[in-house]
Amino acid sequence: MKIEEWIKSNTFHHSRFWDLKKLVEEKERQNIRISLCIPTLNEEKTIGKEVVIFRSELMQRYPLLDEIAIIDSGSEDNTLEVASAFGAQVYSATDILPHLESKRGKGENLWKAIYQLTGDIICYVDADIKNIHPRFVYGLVAPLIYNSETKYVKAFYDRPLAYSHGVRPSGGGRVTEILVRPLFSLLFPDLTGLIQPLSGEYAVRREVLERISFPIGYGVETSHLLDVYHKWGLAAFAQTDLDQRVHRNQSTRDLGKMAFGIMQTFLRRSEKLGIFKEIPNYHTILRQFQAQEKDYHQIEFPIVEDERPPMITVPEYREKYSIPETEVK
């Protein structure tokens, strides 16, 4: 499939899926279950609103979701209490598959959701969205319901700037445009069709999720895209414009850490996929500067992109979902 063709056929706007009654009827006809996973770490200010909106609109009024679960990385605020008070299922990541060595990161929560949640489709939505709306879920789930070929749906958010001409720049955030898009352009040009490859909102079929690895840190989205592309091709992806997403901005310094983690994942994946023959051992300490009057100091941040294997390789998972070991390829 050519990239232009893919963009034309697999890029949607959420308004196309406004008819929730029809969407729920189709979901019920196919007899599929849909789970929403919200990974959290100290999100008490926004989590209540997300749970209330999704429960009201997508469970009670239109039963699109079968479960809403919070998977938490060890919040020290009232995230779990608030989410639970508004009726979400609440899990601590460390309590899921507790015999495994504990790892901490968003990717860990996403990976453990595959074991804990029961949906045939799992939709991941970040907890820090200030302008939360049901479209953040139905816009991502609908392409999977309406098209059996689609396996992985990514969100993107247009930026409503005023432009006097018909053409305006459109794309992702700073890390996407400065790091990921140039890398994809160099080595995986098909993936440049994804407008915001790093967006934290996506819906994926279980059959895909259980067969891909999960870096536990910043690289999880990049890793997914490379693996899904490698195994199922560009046609497996779709993307939906969810309009605006209002969230807290990250500092350039934090984005540096993110870029460092993504680079590690990208290099390792590229090596695994045979793009590079052998990547030399790289350092896992990011060094950034801070200045005090005329003195400059380096601050060191150890960032190691640890990784979880495909969930299907975990015996407890196969047992829970009655999957024979021969299925592990």
Binding site: K49, S56, F86
Partner: protein
């Protein structure tokens, strides 16, 4: 006497006995209510710009299978829940506009006990309750005999001057039997009468030919101060109760430049319309006098008026509402209103205004409403609606 006792006993059986149990059902519908509150509250709706917010409400009415879901010429949005008998029509309203500009961040946050954000109490909560009423009634298995017309009104606040509801009541062909106005705050609020009110702006402007001088004696602040001093000298009667509220003053731009324009926003309130008219005449005299003495351009603009009136304390609508509140341990806070109630009163329609929850920081960006009291506030509203429907609030 025996008839009255029988009626009272029936009222207890029909309404009061059920009132507390309604609270439980409302609580079960919490998510629907709070989601409506958040989604309505995040759509900015300054006065005259309520269209987007009311479009949301209209969709809710349509989804609830209400009839005649529509928007009128001034933007009011209505939905009709037909009664089993349909012999009369009750009108339940909530104003859609808020005091916040569309430029204000309208993000709402949901905490374990309260909802916070601009306009959540006045009046996003009122509108959210109005939007959720069909679901509450359905889940309580309540079918009203009367038609229930639900309406989100426009142009209520400030210079809107209740234009939305006034337009509807002036132009609708449906006779309205009773009106209920919902306000987000405060739980316990009960208004059944309206005070006379006149709201206006006095503006002082330095004429252009004197502007260049910027002398201290040609200063709009000094002139508006003169106006204020003369307003303070107006003798107000203790009975009927009468007030002049000076609400806002604006003048000047910097430390060292004499102000060329000053405005004073004020409101006159009185229990008698005649007194309001007399004070208005005095203000016009003050404006003319100060204008001629100072040589400045001074003018008075009236932006809103209300006629005093309403039902009596002993009117069954007022009495029954108090009785419901008492049964539900709600402390009534009875006060006259200048809100939608005034429009009902002007059209001789018996009406009340009730509040839903406890609120803090009203009209500030961190305005908030408590979640728990909402259940009681809504149960009270449904009980009042049932009492009106069953005829317990009829005068004869």
């Amino acid at each position: 006497m025996a008839e009255t006792h029988k009626q009272s006993s029936k009222f207890r059986d029909d309404i009061l006995r059920h009132a507390p149990s309604f609270e439980k059902v409302v609580k079960e519908q919490r998510d629907l209510l709070l989601a409506n509150l958040v989604m309505i509250g995040e759509i900015p709706a300054p006065t005259f710009q309520e269209a987007d917010r009311l479009e949301f409400v209209k969709n809710r009415f349509t989804e609830a299978n209400l009839q005649n879901c529509s928007t009128d010429e001034v933007g009011n949005t209505v939905g009709l829940l037909p009664g089993t008998k349909g012999e009369r029509t009750l009108l339940m309203v909530a104003h859609a506009d808020t005091v916040f500009s569309e430029k204000v961040d309208h993000t709402i946050s949901v905490g374990p006990n309260k909802i916070t954000g601009p306009g959540v109490a006045d009046n996003s909560l009122g509108l959210a309750v109005l939007s959720t009423i069909p679901a509450f009634l359905e889940n309580m298995d309540i079918e009203l005999d009367s038609n229930l017309l639900l309406m989100g009104t426009t142009r209520s606040l400030g210079q809107g001057n209740l234009e939305g509801l006034r337009f509807f009541l002036s132009n609708s062909t449906i006779p309205i039997h009773t009106g209920v106005s919902i306000e987000g705050a405060q739980l316990g609020r009960l208004s059944y009468s309206s005070v006379g009110m006149l709201r206006g702006v006095i503006t002082c402007i330095v004429p252009e030919e004197e502007d260049f001088l910027r002398m201290t004696d040609t200063n709009a602040i000094i002139t508006i101060n003169e106006v204020i001093n003369k307003i303070i000298d107006i003798r107000l009667p203790k009975r009927p109760r009468t007030y002049i509220i000076m609400g806002a003053i604006n003048a000047g731009h910097s430390y060292n430049t004499a102000a060329t324009k000053a405005t004073l926003q004020f409101e006159i309130r009185s229990e008698r319309a005649e007194i309001v008219r007399q004070i208005r005449d005095q203000l016009e005299e003050i404006v003319a006098e100060v204008s001629s003495q100072s040589g400045m351009f001074v003018k008075l603009d009236i932006v809103a008026t209300r006629r005093p009136g309403g039902i009596r304390f002993k009117h069954p609508l007022s009495r029954v509402t108090r009785e419901i509140m008492k049964t539900m341990d709600i402390e009534p806070e009875i006060r006259p209103s200048i809100s939608e109630l005034s429009a009902f009163i002007s059209n001789d329609i018996p009406a009340i205004t009730v509040g839903i929850s406890k609120a803090e920081h009203i009209h500030e960006p961190n305005e908030s409403v408590l979640i728990d009291p909402m259940y009681k506030g809504i149960a009270q509203l449904i009980s009042i609606l049932m009492a009106i429907d069953k005829g317990y609030c009829d005068e004869n």
